[in-house]
Amino acid sequence: MAEPPDGGASDPSLWDRVPDLVSLEISTWEHAACVPRSWGKADRVADLRRLLPDELTKPIYALMAQAEALFLRRTEPIPPFRERLARDFDARSQASEPGGATADAADSFTLDGELRELLRFTQNLGDVVPGWDAGVAAALGADAAEIARGIRNFETLGLPRGEFSVAYGYRLSVRRVPGDLLRPALATHSALLIGGASPAFQPGPLRDLSDLLLR
């Protein structure tokens, strides 16, 4: 059975730090054009609606799917939240924790960093997809102007062009809610994890009473 903290002598961070909640924010200009008022956002890469043919955008969506898989692999679901629990510990969000993990350059390896490394969305669209401008023009045809107007709430410069970065039209980022801000919402869980050895939680009248009060 898990032992309670020993006053911080051995590894206080295990007990004191609360992992961040993270979610993946996915949006594309294509989805914004297809689903009005969606702001281009979808819950999953598979849910993204497309305007352009797959042969044109395949490398971009493949990267997004890869990034989504990495996100799901590196995080744990924590029902009933839609967010997930980060397995890494962002030093910034834990630094204020009393007795929390100390920020260390070697520990700053985070999911966000991994995704940045994978996605390389600062590259130009024309470099990732050769012939981008011609491909877009051919796919959209006479509707191009209308579509450009339709995505103004997503990007004001209109249709993505070859010299724009991939991130202009295709975005995937981690939204992180620091764990210490979530203490009330996760309090039950922390109490269960940490307080398991307390006499109040052993079977008996005291536990029955607390069960009744906590119903």
Binding site: M1, A2, L14, P19, L21, L72, R73, E76, P77, I78, P79, P80, F81, R82, E83, R84, L85, A86, R87, V177, L182, P184, A185, L186, T188, H189, L192, L193, G195, G196, A197, S198, F201, Q202, P203, R207, D211, L212, L214, R215
Partner: protein, 401 residues
């Protein structure tokens, strides 16, 4: 075969705060019986009798169908956004963590004709067979919740920690902490996808293509999570769904202790007890709520067991003469415990009103007359009458072709 469930329940009870005081499991989320009768044990493979059923036209029936549909389906106008939805609005699993004495799967009788009317009425099979399909779909969904509950209990015994309770408490607190900052569902969507995936996996290979299509429509009509059952119907999809669900229960422990349940080399679906013998450990309860749906008493009946059985003198003589006495006694004993899948116990109107047929051995049938009065779950509690074995003989001689 599982370790007896009682041992698991006793083990979980020793874990600090692993259990809770659950709500009354006999309280249906949608239709409330006017005269509650209490739950009756039904077993997993009952036989259905629709001889007392006439297509109802009363306003109360219509209201009941609409009320159930608003909870069951997500795209119906006025669909209820809160409370149990999807399959869990018409049947529900009560965890042994919350009700060690009343746990199990609960099915209100009205769910069978109502879901039949909504999703299965077009299937070209007798009504009683459609009810059986609905029953099996609901049982498969709820059995998946039992399997997850069981796997969680294993992890709890391993960690000596209240994994299930932690998720349960967060679910209960969800409304309290609801905010735009942390959007959340009132149920575990991945677990509902897993449960409906199990419905398609368990029933799909056994029923015909038309019934499979009807089951898919039944799954897709349900709220988010439930409707993703299709994706969990393949081997890979099911394994991924099981992993996601168990990761959800283990999440805080995994991050705290650096466990890695998401490792793709692990297949957690092996931890879920889905063998028939394993599932048989999960009690099944039926609630009589026919009056709440505007249906007359006895409109839906099911036989979980066939007992007591008495024999006519002619039957005894014939069985003895044909050397079938021992085989009949074995059949009789089996029917008293439940209706075995291979017994082909079915209504047999060719032999007269209230007559049923059962396979005794290969090529041998017996005919039985049902008791004058049957409770809604036959043979539950004191039986007002006995089944009467009237005839026995070869398949052909008994009029079975």
């Amino acid at each position: 075969m599982l370790i007896p469930i009682d041992a698991i329940i006793a083990g979980v009870a020793q874990i600090p705060r692993a259990t809770w005081i659950g709500a009354d499991p006999t309280n249906p989320p949608v239709l409330r019986p006017l005269l509650p009768t209490g739950p009756a044990s039904a077993g997993h493979a009952p036989v259905f009798d629709d001889s007392g059923f006439a297509p109802p036209s009363s306003p109360r029936w219509r209201e009941a169908v609409d009320a159930v549909n608003r909870r069951f389906a997500s795209d119906v106008e006025g669909a209820a956004p809160r409370g149990p939805g999807g399959a869990d609005a018409v049947a529900w699993y009560v965890s042994f963590h919350g009700s060690p004495d009343q746990w199990g799967i609960y099915v209100p009788l009205s769910s069978l004709p109502i879901l039949d009317e909504l999703y299965f009425a077009d299937l070209p099979i007798p009504r009683a067979e459609r009810w059986r399909l609905v029953w099996e779909a609901l049982l498969a969904h709820e059995a998946a919740h039992f399997a997850v509950d069981y796997a969680c209990a294993w992890f709890e015994l391993l960690h000596h920690s209240p994994l299930r309770r932690a998720v349960h408490d967060r679910m209960q607190a969800a409304d309290q902490w609801a905010s735009a900052l942390l959007p959340r569902s009132s149920y575990f969507e991945a677990e509902e996808a897993l449960a409906n995936g199990h419905v398609l996996r368990a029933l799909g290979p056994r029923v015909g293509p038309e019934a499979t299509d009807a089951l898919r429509r039944f799954v897709r009509a349900q709220p988010p999570g439930y409707r993703d059952g299709d994706a969990a119907a393949t081997d890979a999809g099911f394994a991924a769904a099981v992993t996601e669900v168990l990761r959800g229960y283990l999440a805080v422990w995994s991050t705290a202790w650096n466990l890695d349940p998401g490792n793709p080399a692990l297949d957690f679906s092996r931890l879920l007890p889905f063998d028939a013998a394993d599932l048989a450990q999960c009690p099944v309860w039926v609630l009589d709520d026919l009056d709440a749906a505007g249906l007359p008493a006895g409109a839906v009946r099911l036989f979980a067991r066939v007992t007591p059985i008495e024999e006519t003198l002619a039957f005894r003589k014939k069985a003895k003469r044909q050397g079938l006495g021992d085989a009949w006694e074995r059949t009789k004993a089996r029917l008293a415990g439940g209706i075995p899948n291979g017994s082909d116990f079915k209504k047999w109107p060719k032999a007269g009103d209230g007559m049923w047929s059962v396979r005794v051995t290969e090529g041998v049938r017996a005919h039985l007359r049902q008791p004058e009065q049957l409770s809604f779950v036959a043979s539950e509690g004191p039986c007002p009458g006995a089944w009467l074995a009237c005839d026995i003989g070869s398949h052909k001689a008994m009029g079975h072709g």
